[in-house]
Symmetry: C2
Subunit: 366 residues, 2 copies
């Protein structure tokens, strides 16, 4: 089926990171964009960096009507802004991009509006940065853009919502709103909560203890650096789905506490083994590279001096050797000026690569 | 103070990943090593790959005495093997390398032995792989090797234990046994448990939901792939220290559950904000690159085709531009044949680098 493209104009309400990036991306593709933000500064910055023109210019043109209105406001006010936009532009498709869908749709349904022109969506892109200055038109390239239309949405509206994601280079996928909220509760919100719970344990400890921190701690607490302002809204809006998972986690923690209080008791070992193997099983279900089945690659760790160009040199030589790099991670946790480059390759290529790298003078640690 | 070096011979008991790597590393430095393992196959493999000679050859030489005996057995049997080794070689320093120190020392103290020649240590190296085949002499290079002598240990024994780590290229640090167990409970064992608890939630879910998984889920569940056999022993041996942290986590989860059951109630927002900001605060205490203070770098994400050599090309060009790569991560979660290379640099270099890369034709997503 041919992909529909937007011709515009598109109005973007809310020129934070996502809204401004949407504006930039569409403008780069020749789709005219008009911007509005409650903060005159945010709006001015977004206009300045080329994300679109002030919406006042659209208002000044009596015949002009937007094709699509993108509500890129914080989750708390999204339903309000969607409702106002449906009335303000009576022929536009109105989409929102908040990371929770059910609560917003429920709110809108409670207002007795005609929702045939509304489609909830969720572009899964963007770091913990915020604000228009960090915006980039390419932010959505190859990232999932979930389209979650309710039963009320007209087919043309859904097509326009999908075109928005497609025109921004995203991978458009369709989920029901409830299904979407369940998915993000599991793959995004619960991990955020667990990471923050873990990281909060590090407060008040002797820094000397943290000197032994390795990649395990760093990986599990990385997202604990997330922005509270946004996440308070997300967790609040998706609370029912998240708390369901937390009931299960609480049960598991209770059982684990009882086991660890008597680690030599009969059955204790089995309990611990069960926790570990269930973790193995769950982790193994996460999709692999490019969304395919999880694959087992072979890893090797190469020592590099912390001089400019060393990692590039290593990768170039691996390319010369003719082995494809499946994945790459750096480990700088050492206290010396060396870095460890962890490389994964197809298992069949592993041993020959290690031999070849050593012959070329690299130190392969493992 | 000059570093002591080992002259050997060194006996390694237990030729799994760590024991065999110790053998390899010492042999590479000209220190003679003798190996013993309850499994004739494991021992033969370790001998074959050059980690040392069978211990029978040492026994056959009436005058020969090892300088150091390294007990590289599983934590469950470590105290037994240490006790037997102290008696079998009455002049050797005996060290162990198990990841929990207090339980082993307490066990040995209960046997009424002379422990002046015993030093507990813990090399913090090695992946979830196991067995001698994966062993490498460089495994310990620049990794922490914690030396945890009890009050009974003679100064010469402690010196020998430190020399072992130093000769293997590790960074030797000294901790008391209790202090060590507290440290690893926090930076290693608790993260393992939290990761396994989270990953186990992924069992039995519709795989379609997991299609939206991004780096947040991957990072927080990476270590959930750890080997159950080893971890059951570790968690059991350090149970008292781990459970202390779990009491706190349970309390926090209880409070979070109550908040999420009534997310619109007064104070709910504040509770969620507090969880997030405490997570921020804890995460910020983790040491930065090379053990220094945590630093804020600026990130950018560059799109690369999934063709061989592209990442090498990108890094080479960044080197040509003259900017130092502070950190690097790949994101392959996209469903297309593209990869996203996340690069961090000094904040002052960020904007110029983005401009330069775009001029050279790279697509910078954010």
């Amino acid at each position: 089926m041919a992909v529909t493209h937007l011709h515009g104009p598109v109005v973007v309400i809310g020129t934070g990171l996502l809204g401004t990036s949407i504006g930039l991306g569409l403008e780069h593709r020749g789709v005219p964009v008009f911007l509005e933000d409650p903060s005159p500064t945010n709006q001015a910055v977004a206009v300045d960096i080329g994300a679109g023109r002030p919406v006042a210019e659209l208002d000044a043109d009596p015949g002009a009507q937007p094709e699509v209105v993108v509500v890129a406001a914080p989750p708390d006010v999204t339903a309000d802004v969607v409702a106002r936009s449906l009335q303000r532009w009576p022929r536009a498709v109105v989409v929102d991009i908040a990371s929770v869908k059910g609560a917003i749709l429920a709110d809108l349904r409670g207002r007795g509006l005609d929702l045939s022109r509304y489609v909830g969506t969720h572009p899964m892109a963007g770091r913990e940065k915020s604000g228009p200055v960090a915006a980039r038109g390419e932010l959505f390239t190859s990232m999932p853009w979930v389209v979650c239309s309710g039963a009320e949405a007209a087919p043309d509206a859904v097509r326009a919502a999908k075109a928005l994601g497609a025109d921004l280079g995203a991978m458009v996928v369709e989920f029901g709103p409830e299904e979407h909220d369940e998915a993000v509760a599991l793959v995004s919100h619960l991990p955020q909560v667990m990471s923050s719970l873990l990281a909060s344990r590090l407060q008040g400890t002797d820094l000397r203890l943290l000197a032994l921190a390795g990649n395990g701690l760093r990986d599990t607490t990385r997202i604990a650096a997330s922005d509270p302002g946004l996440w308070v809204q997300i967790l609040g809006a998706n609370a029912p789905k998240i708390v369901e998972h937390l009931y299960g986690v609480r049960e598991d923690i209770e059982r684990l506490i009882r086991t660890l209080e008597a680690p030599a008791a009969p059955g204790a070992r089995l309990d611990l083994a069960q926790l570990m193997t269930e973790g193995n099983a769950g982790q193994a279900r996460i999709p692999g590279k490019h969304g395919g089945p999880p694959q087992a690659f072979a890893w090797l760790t190469v020592l590099v001096d912390d001089r400019p160009g060393q990692i590039a040199k290593l990768l170039t030589e691996i390319g010369e050797i003719g082995v494809n790099l499946e994945d790459l991670r750096l480990d700088h946790s050492s206290g010396r000026n060396v870095g460890m480059v962890e490389i994964s390759v197809l298992p069949s290529k592993h041993d020959a690569l290690v031999t070849e790298l050593e012959e070329r003078g690299w130190r392969v640690l493992q």
